[in-house]
């Protein structure tokens, strides 16, 4: 399987009067088509690890390889470009922009990338939403959608630029059990049906059990 992301001895430390180590010497590889569940107690560094993998945060030490390329020398703009083209984020709260409809939210990353004309982008966004059983919700505002629907729109938005890596931070944390199962199925399908690399932070042991691999973090360290 092709390597999607690799972390080598990645450490993230917050300097200050009392330095705090968020992630300590983390080494990890996720391949395309693989879904990895990241578990651990609250405040153990799961989200921090996810932000480092998503190039939103910079490691204090160590290297991150994305699609076989070392990102150590990336500047701010190159990291933004890499996020735009190769990474999709899904958060616990859906974080849809309230001034844009479901379809328009999904269109945003595509419009920023600028590969297609407006009509094509609309069509692709509609197809992505339809693929997640949201074809009839395209023109609804985020406030008109249920929690599960909103989270699936957020997943569609994360997939807008066809990323090789999807990072999900407790995507089912705010959902009821039915919606949670729907979102879990959708996320697992991203890896197993679409061949993407997926890293999902979760507290749900059932969801973690369905992943291909499970990683546990305690006090910032990946447990053996």
């Amino acid at each position: 399987m092709a390597e999607a992301i690799r972390l080598e001895h990645v450490t993230r430390r917050l300097e200050g009067e009392v330095p705090v180590t968020l992630v300590d010497e983390a080494s990890l590889r996720i391949d395309a088509g693989e879904c990895v569940a990241i578990t651990g107690p609250s405040g153990s560094g799961k989200s921090s690890l996810l932000y480092l993998m998503g190039l939103l945060d910079l490691p204090t030490a160590g290297r991150i390889w994305l699609g076989g390329t070392d990102t150590s020398d990336y500047g701010e703009d190159e990291r933004s470009e890499a996020r735009l083209r190769t990474i999709g984020f899904v958060f616990q709260a859906h974080f849809l922009l309230p001034e844009f409809s479901a379809r328009e939210n999904v269109m945003l990353p595509m419009r920023r990338l600028g590969l297609y004309d407006e009509a094509t982008i609309r069509e692709r966004a509609g197809a992505l939403l339809a693929g997640l059983d949201l074809g009839s919700q395209c023109d609804k505002w985020p406030r008109q959608l249920s929690g599960g629907q909103s989270q699936r729109v957020a997943i569609a938005r994360a997939l807008a630029n066809d990323p090789m890596l999807v990072l999900a931070d407790e995507p089912t944390g705010n959902l009821d059990s039915v919606a949670s199962r729907n979102v879990q199925r959708t996320i697992l399908a991203l890896a197993h049906a679409q061949g993407r690399a997926v890293a999902v932070v979760t507290h749900d042991p059932d969801f973690a059990a369905q992943a291909d691999r499970r990683i546990r973090i305690v006090d910032g360290r990946i447990q053996p």
Partner: protein
């Protein structure tokens, strides 16, 4: 890309309609006040300068020297202390000597028209009424080329002075005060004691009551004779094709003819400085209105930045760059500035049209005066440009703050 940023900016503003409308109103009022007041002040300034340039000579050669002529001994020993006693000043006839040669020289300059004038004081008498008047001796055909007096003739013609050397052209206010009519004979006594009778052959009305009540035009030869100054004049008035060249032309002419030569700019220096100061005060006042409007814009965009921290973070996570976020909030300032400009210029045009309809009578003038409004594109560009600049500066500070938002900090605390 710009379209996307403008789209997001517009959605943010539309989501806060009331705040956006208040800040928009600030710009609309700012632009309209700026435009109308600036157009009125510039219009009046141009009107004043136009009157200065149009109604008065561009250059005047006077019968005096800017610096008094030195005695030969002082010229010979410029650094010596010289005392001359019992000097008897030479009594000579005052006026510009050799003026025909000077006129010949002047008329060889392209774009320059010149006319000789001999002016003096006189006493006009008619039907038992006496009035002191200024007597202007002119060659009508030449003077008409350097003056606008022909435009102000209400009866008769200035050119008749050439056909009728005993004719006189007076202001209509003088005629009214002395009960004069066309064809009446007016007795004029000069300061030398000579008395002549002139026939009224024309009336003018300039709107300046002092001029209309106190000036009279007569053939140059007659005035030279009445003032005992044959072959002398005391002023040469000059009009230029380019009035703005008056200062340099005057200096050149003075170097050549040596008589004091004054441009319209030099003659009106006090007025020009007063106009410049007035402009500074006016722009400071109307600019302050736009500064207040800019605070409104700053307020609404700052609020959006504070409220939209989570959206900024999610956009950064999507791959938007820091400069995209900055551009998005600058676009909000540009949108308020642009829409405010459209409505502000519309309202400003209405105010300008309204101001044009206001009419009043200035003390000292017999005519009804309207406010002069400058409708030149410069006014619109200035008002629009200043408003856009104020809007962009107001948007810049919150936009910079938005660009510096660390997405991780927001996402950690936002779930």
């Amino acid at each position: 890309m710009i379209r996307l940023l403008v789209d997001i900016a517009a959605r943010h503003l539309l989501a806060r309609r009331r705040q956006s409308i208040v800040s928009l109103l600030g710009v609309v009022l700012g632009v309209s006040f700026f435009l109308s007041i600036s157009a009125m002040m510039r219009g009046s300034e141009q009107d004043i300068i136009h009157r200065l340039v149009d109604n008065a000579p561009h250059i005047t050669i006077e019968d005096e020297y800017r610096n008094p002529t030195l005695q030969p001994v002082s010229q010979l020993f410029p650094r010596a202390v010289v005392q001359l006693r019992h000097l008897v000043p030479q009594t000579e006839m005052r006026g510009i000597r050799g003026y025909p040669q000077i006129l010949d020289y002047l008329r060889r300059t392209p774009g320059l028209r010149a006319s000789a004038v001999l002016s003096g004081q006189a006493l006009a008498s008619f039907a038992g009424k006496d009035r002191a008047i200024g007597l202007y001796g002119i060659v009508a055909s030449e003077y008409a080329q350097v003056s606008t007096i022909r435009r102000y003739m209400v009866r008769g013609s200035l050119d008749e002075l050439e056909a009728n050397p005993n004719g006189i052209v007076v202001g209509d206010e003088l005629a009214r005060r002395m009960s004069l009519s066309m064809g009446d004979n007016l007795r004029v006594a000069s300061t030398t004691g000579q008395v002549r009778t002139f026939k009224i052959i024309g009336l003018f009305h300039t709107g300046r009551s002092d001029f209309d009540a106190g000036q009279a035009f007569v053939a140059l030869k007659r005035v030279q004779s009445m003032l005992d100054r044959p072959n002398r004049i005391n002023t040469i008035v000059i009009k230029l094709a380019d009035p703005n060249a008056a200062r340099t032309e005057a200096a050149r002419i003075e170097r050549r003819v040596r008589y004091k030569t004054v441009s319209w700019q030099e003659r009106s220096e006090d007025l020009m400085s007063a106009l410049a100061i007035r402009s500074v005060i006016m722009y400071a006042v109307v600019g302050a209105v736009l500064v207040v409007a800019a605070f409104g814009i700053y307020n609404v965009i700052s609020t959006v930045v504070l409220e939209k921290q989570r959206d900024i973070a999610i956009l950064r996570a999507m791959g938007f760059e820091a400069r995209d976020i900055e551009g998005m909030f600058l676009a909000q300032g540009a949108l308020i500035g642009a829409v405010g400009n459209v409505f502000g210029i519309g309202l400003g045009c209405g105010l300008m049209a309204g101001l044009m309809r206001i009419h009043f009578r200035v003390p000292g003038s017999t005519d009804v005066t309207y406010l002069a409004i400058d409708w030149s594109p410069f006014q619109f560009l200035l008002a629009g440009g200043v408003a856009m600049l104020a809007a962009m500066i107001a948007a810049y500070l919150p936009a910079r703050r938005a660009a510096k938002v660390e997405p991780v900090d927001v996402l950690r605390g936002g779930t």
